[in-house]
């Protein structure tokens, strides 16, 4: 009573905390969406660079440089798209407390992601070496784009592994799954960014 006499405002602490938690979650969701919108522009930038370089070149790829073989990257891309679907399903599973289903699908996401990165590393390494001659713009921009994307895939993959370990420990429930939501959204980002690059590198 003494406190309410001194203090002129009523504080419903529980209600306030609940409201703050709601706002915090809303902030996180919007924050990660904005981050995705923002950072995809870096990928757009590299895509534009590729297109400009291609437009400037008399022929693309340059004479003597074999064109990219799309078969293996296309298979890897399909795997990546499948991983996005699985990430979504895993995210839905944890919301209904289906932990085992979540773990299976999340591991599949990681497996497909690892496979994709492995394929891209292979593509990166087996591209015609240019170390002994002048830079080959075709190879340089290919290497830059794929390396840039793979670094993102690896970094976000590490985060997904951390989420997997915590999920296996039973940390997440239907009422508390922000890390998983963030992980799945970041993985969507990896997939969409790659689809942009794939279109530029292999389709256009």
């Amino acid at each position: 009573m003494q406190r309410s006499n001194e203090f002129p405002f009523e504080f419903d602490r529980e209600r306030q905390q609940q409201r703050q938690a709601e706002i915090a979650l809303k902030n996180k969701r919007m924050g990660i969406n904005l981050f995705q919108i923002s950072w995809i522009m870096a990928f757009v930038c590299l895509s534009v660079v590729n297109l400009v370089m291609r437009g400037n070149a008399p022929s693309w790829p340059p004479p003597g440089t074999p064109p990219l073989d799309p078969v293996l990257p296309t298979i890897a891309t399909l795997g990546l798209i499948a991983s996005m679907v699985l990430a979504r399903r895993a995210f839905l599973a944890i919301q209904t407390d289906k932990l085992s289903a979540f773990l299976v699908q999340w591991r599949a996401v990681l497996g497909l992601g690892a496979l994709f990165v492995a394929v891209m590393i292979y593509e990166w390494i087996t591209l015609t070496p240019t170390l002994d001659g002048p830079p080959n713009q075709f190879n340089t921009i290919f290497r830059l784009m794929t390396a840039f994307h793979s670094l993102h895939a690896i970094a976000i993959g590490v985060y997904l592994i951390w989420v997997l370990r915590r999920a296996a420990q039973g940390v997440y429930r239907h009422a508390d799954f922000w890390d998983i939501e963030a992980g799945s959204k970041l993985w969507y980002f990896v997939v969409i960014a790659w689809l942009l690059f794939y279109a530029v590198l292999y389709i256009i």
């Binding site: 001194e6 902030n27 904005l34 919108i37 930038c45 660079v49």
Partner: protein, 574 residues
């Protein structure tokens, strides 16, 4: 008309405790501490950048190379001056004001992501340090635009540090931009609709949209530049299949919108100051708010006007048209500001003087902007002192005048003390006159063909350059008046009270300085943040003073609500 240098009637001349100096020197997630950290850090770099400008003007006192016999040293001077002023002074100081005042104006306890906010700030000191360290390994000397091949083949290793430093500053900007957008979208108080937000918040929102969308492009360009410098790639080397125009396109796709990053918040500051000190509602509130967004969007379509001399001829006209179109929303602002002060009961405070000065200078900068948006004029004036004059009228006559006005306006809220108004007016007079003396003649020598970025010039330009340099020195010295005033006010300034200007926006509905949690409870916004001159506004101010501010001056009560809350920032998302 009245001159105000003491707290206005109706506000108790009481003070609230200030944070200790040590709190500003360490990691803090309090947006107000971070805001002051931004402002103080940027002021430090402002002095460094200003000192470099003084050296440039000293060199240009005579047509010959005097104390900079090595042309590369002069290149370094203008490179570092431009880079520091843009990326380490203007951008961070505006972020500082945004950090301090956006949550307060929204009635929020903090930014949406306080930890991220602190992290973004703490990227700036190392970035600045890297930039300065370049001096010891061969500084950057390709201009702030760093066009290849100057930046790839003819600049020493400091250019690489320059690029890394800008990378860090870009990351800080992006994180800050995301934080502002989320804060503005999600943390408005109940009852505050978008078109009831203060115009400074609209300006920060528009600025943040640009930051979030454009800055990653700069990151891409910087990555390519670094790879060209250290990894043997040749993205910008034509002899090996690269393209120097590629850099220009990507760089300006960021850097022209960046001009609006650097000026939009100043527009917001001016809108606040004019309305409060003219005691009149903002004329055309919605048009000012929406014109900020229009500038942000149209700003993405004008970048190639910086490249008229190197652009394919068929692309010049479209970019000329879009560049001229952007004068429309800008003109809407100017006419709205004039409508706001027209017929007002103007208080000729230092803040108001700088706001008025802003309008006059910015109009000149805007008109010359339309001139150089015109292809034939631009081709004639390209790379002359006319361009130097144009962007200094925009960024100094515009943004820096806006920042000075904002400092005089909001300093009482930040510190609880008033700056000396007489000294402020002397500062304004000196700044205004010396600014004109420094930059207006540059139009003339530019039109006569004096090139920029060259330490030597034709002897016929010397008389004008002497005037420019002497004015520049006065301008440099005048800066110390406000710095002195700020420090003086901390110890000797009159106590400001919570709302010395009798303003209606929420940052004034708490003590000066505000407590760590800003407000006791949730403050109630007035229906019109600029509804001055009405009985309802007077009653609102009285009620807010009694209900919100007065209890917070009781030390026991001031601490109580904080102790009840669970975390440093209860609405923190991270």
């Amino acid at each position: 008309m009245a001159s105000i240098s003491v707290p206005l009637g109706g506000v108790g001349a009481t003070t609230a405790p200030r944070p200790k100096l040590s709190e500003y020197l360490r990691w803090s997630v309090d947006h107000k501490i971070i805001g002051v950290q931004y402002i103080a850090t940027s002021l430090f770099f402002f002095i460094i950048g200003g000192a470099l400008a003084m050296l440039i003007r000293a060199e240009l006192l005579t047509p010959a190379q005097d104390f900079m016999v090595d042309g590369a040293a002069y290149n370094t001077l203008f490179t570092m001056h431009g880079t520091i002023m843009i990326f380490l002074w203007i951008v961070p100081v505006l972020a500082g004001f945004g950090n301090y005042f956006v949550p307060l104006m929204l009635g929020a306890k903090d930014m949406a992501f306080p930890w991220l906010n602190a992290f973004a700030f703490w990227l700036i000191p190392p970035a600045g340090l890297l930039m300065l360290l370049g001096w010891f390994i061969g500084p950057a000397e390709a201009g702030w635009t760093s066009y290849p091949p100057l930046s790839t083949h003819f600049s020493p290793d400091g250019q690489t540090l320059w690029a890394i430093s800008l990378h860090l500053l870009g990351v800080a900007s992006i994180l800050g931009g995301i934080n502002f957008i989320v804060t503005i979208r999600n943390m408005r108080p109940e009852g505050m609709k978008y078109f009831q937000m203060p115009l400074f918040i609209w300006a920060v929102l528009a600025q943040s949209v640009i930051v979030v969308l454009a800055t990653p492009f700069l990151a891409g360009a910087l990555t390519l530049l670094i790879l060209d410098r250290v990894a043997g790639t040749a993205f910008f080397t034509p002899s090996q299949g690269g393209d120097v125009l590629l850099w220009q396109n990507i760089f300006w796709f960021y850097s022209h919108p960046a001009v609006y990053i650097m000026v939009l918040p100043a527009f917001g500051m001016i809108s606040e100051i004019l309305s409060v000190h003219a005691r009149k509602p903002v004329f055309g509130y919605r048009m000012i708010a929406l014109s900020s967004m229009a500038i942000a969007l149209v700003g993405f379509t004008v970048w190639a006007h910086h490249m008229f001399t190197s652009l394919q001829p068929e692309l010049r006209i479209p970019f000329m048209i879009t560049s001229m179109i952007i004068a429309v929303p800008t003109g809407i602002k100017v006419f709205s500001w004039l409508g706001t002060i027209y017929g007002g009961r103007i208080r000729w405070t230092s803040a108001m003087l700088f706001a008025m000065g802003f309008i006059s200078m910015f109009v000149i900068g805007g008109i010359t902007g339309v001139m150089v948006a015109s292809v034939p004029v631009d081709i004639h004036l390209h790379d002359t002192y006319f361009v130097v004059s144009h962007f200094h009228f925009v960024l100094y006559g515009g943004t820096v005048f806006g920042v000075y006005g904002a400092l005089y306006h909001w300093w009482p809220k930040i510190t609880g003390r008033m700056m000396d108004e007489n000294l402020g007016k002397i500062h304004f007079a000196l700044t205004y006159l010396s600014f004109l003396g420094t930059f207006f003649p540059q139009h003339l020598v530019g039109m006569q063909g004096m090139p920029r970025r060259v330490a030597e010039y034709a002897p016929e330009f010397q008389a004008m350059n002497i005037i420019i340099s002497i004015s520049g020195f006065v301008l440099g010295v005048s800066t110390f008046l406000i710095l002195y005033n700020m420090v003086w006010s901390l110890y000797r300034g009159k106590i400001a009270g919570s709302n010395p200007w009798r303003a209606l926006t929420l940052e004034w509905m708490t003590t000066s300085p505000p407590p760590p949690y800003n407000f006791v409870g949730d403050p109630i916004p007035f229906e019109d943040p600029y509804g001055y001159g009405t009985e309802a506004s007077r009653e609102y101010l009285k009620a807010m003073d009694e209900r919100f501010v007065a209890p917070m001056l009781n030390p026991a009560l001031r601490k109580r609500p904080d102790a009840q809350l669970p975390a440093p920032n209860p609405s923190a998302g991270d």
